[in-house]
Amino acid sequence: MTLDVKYLNLPPFCFEIQTDIEKVIRNLQHIYADAFQDSAIAPDYFLTLKSGSGLRKYLRPQARFLADQHEPFKPIDALNGFALLEWGMNWCIATQEMRFVIVHAAVLAKDGKAVLFPAPPGSGKSTLTAWLAFHGWRLLSDEMALIVPGTNTVIPFVRPICLKNQSIHLAKKWFPTAKFSSIAKNTHKGDVIHLSPPIDSWQQNTTSAQIIAIVFPRYIKEQSLEVTVLNQAQAFMALAENAFNFSLAGNEGFQTIVKLVETCQNYEATYSTVAELAEFLEQDVLPNAHP
């Protein structure tokens, strides 16, 4: 198959995607629907997801990701091509888009107020994100919060939610009619699936929001909800450890993060029932937001 050229219109960016892998195209159509297009005026980045070269192509098919001639990752099993493309898009934005202050966190909003959820892998963040997105919260981003420098304003970059291992079965049980990608098995992150958020997240993908709280979630089995208020130094250190790469930040990035922890409510929350945490957010956090 020759390389097919398509476009993903994902505000604030547009990607050109060239691929010769049928399965990747099917996943793109299913997950992205109208955002997956045949033409675009001004793509920002030119990505390629193609089959590996040489004899290998027939023995153990591989998928390679390239960002305009540059290949940042090793190839993976072609069956997992869609997951590689998703990671590739994250990599592209994280390494190129310096005009935003990027925090590695999920960000969701309700009533125009956004909460940032920075969390290392294994904290159950994606399961939380999925649950909130389908229970009245709008998804702005699952992995990368794009913050306008010098402000608390977060710009949506709506993409599917990346779920791993046990979360996959949970999410399929909770949302049987939702749009899931095919499962990528045995990746370096384990089994991975991508879940498209509800239609209203897509429809509001150009509406920004103000971050009013930072919540560090930690899933612990059979743990009833426990919330700790963090002081500003603690919140900053927690962000610096997990969610923000200061070696890439300039003065502006530093000042933005500092202002963020000073103007937000900052919490650490350990939980096992997502609904309990959601209730805390809706009843205690959102109403206390400073205007």
Binding site: A42, P43, G52, G54, D68, K74, R99, G250
Partner: protein
């Protein structure tokens, strides 16, 4: 108008008129590949053309500018560490190429410049102790196979590039401008007389020596990936530093060190591609070093292609031919013939294996690496 000409006009501060958005997309893409986005950004600001740009272009130029700023901070940090660690071990410690551009005070060529490694020039006899010292600070020879290590140490008498374990910085340590094996390495003590100190105390080449060094590397390359960046580097050095002293120093140093032909060629391409005005006196002094018409035609074929703002996706057959000629020429110029044949033989072998088994077959780090 061809995309090459549009980009050259933008660099030189000439308005290309109203361009459709699709053309801007191409311009940005080519410039990003050539690693010239940040450079074009400030050139457009300085020439006043930035006000005519669409938001699409402004966004990407801003990103490039911010990335370059971060690299600028990083190189200053690395330079400070390296100076502190290595100065006691060698009587000469110079920063070269990209790092030198950035460390140089207020240099136009350093503005918006990005680079992938840091090049240093030290005393030859200090190489072993420097390599040992750098190892203590976390710098390790890149993961090369035995053949490549042998090439570096026995044939080239160089240290292979060293990478820092956690910061990822790549360090290339030299004791001359070119590997001795090429037979063209000059008497380096000549070049040590053409240096200057930056305000922060780093030693770099004088502008004329810097121009000469960059010229030598460009014209003797076996592979040119960022030709437009390389030729605009040279343009910016001349634009900022040219005066009678500069030209005198450049001409005499190039003749003394045996690189007059290379300088002749660099100036030729600066004139042809970027319309640089070279003083008549300089032309006269270098005219005896002009290659034969026949040679000039093949050199022009290669360099007029490789130094223009090109992108592999927009290339054609001639560009592929130019790449091959450059490869052959570059290798031929830098190696004695019997070693060249061995080396080329191996390179062809590697390419053949890649074609059959897939290009990642030979990657040491992949799970399926097999012993050759």
């Amino acid at each position: 108008m061809h995309i090459h000409d549009i980009i050259i006009d933008l660099f030189l501060g000439k308005s290309p008129g109203q361009l459709p958005l699709s053309v801007w997309v191409q311009v940005i893409r080519v410039l990003r590949y050539q690693q010239c986005l940040a450079r074009i950004g400030w050139r457009l600001q300085d020439s006043g053309l930035a006000t005519e740009l669409p938001v699409y272009a402004l966004n990407h130029l801003k990103n490039a500018d911010l990335i370059a700023q971060k690299q600028y901070h990083q190189v200053h940090y690395e330079a400070m560490l390296l100076q502190r660690q290595l100065q006691p071990l060698t009587s000469h410690l110079l920063f070269l190429k990209g790092a030198a551009y950035s460390l140089n005070d207020d240099s136009a060529v350093g503005r918006g410049r990005t680079y992938s490694d840091i090049d240093l020039l030290v005393d030859r006899k200090s190489l072993p102790v420097i390599e040992k010292e750098l190892c203590l600070y976390g710098f390790v020879a890149e993961d090369l196979d035995e053949y490549d290590q042998k090439y570096y140490r026995e044939w080239s008498h160089e240290i292979p590039p060293l990478r820092h374990g956690s910061r990822g910085t790549l360090l290339d340590i030299h004791h001359n401008l070119l590997p001795l094996i090429t037979g063209r390495a000059p008497d380096i003590s000549l070049f040590f007389r053409h240096t200057r100190q930056t305000n922060a105390g780093y030693t770099v080449f004088s502008p004329a020596a810097m121009f000469l060094h960059s010229t030598v590397h460009l014209i003797l390359s076996e592979e040119i990936k960022h030709g437009f960046r390389d030729i605009t580097d040279l343009y910016l050095i001349i634009e900022q530093y040219q005066n009678n002293d500069f030209w005198q120093e450049l001409v005499s140093l190039s003749i003394e060190s045996g690189f007059a032909i290379e300088v002749f060629l660099a100036l030729r391409y600066l004139e042809k591609i970027l319309s640089l005005q070279v003083p008549v006196a300089v032309h006269q002094k270098l005219s005896t070093y002009r290659p034969s018409e026949f040679r000039l035609r093949s050199l022009d074929f290669i360099f007029l292609r490789k130094l223009k703002p090109a992108h592999p996706s927009f290339g054609n057959h001639s560009d592929v031919v130019a790449d091959w000629l450059l490869l052959l020429r570059g290798h031929y110029l830098k190696m004695p013939l019997h070693i060249l044949l061995k080396h080329l033989g191996r390179k062809f072998y590697l390419q053949a294996v890649s074609a059959v088994f897939g290009s990642n077959f030979l990657d040491k780090k992949t799970e399926n690496h097999r012993n050759k």
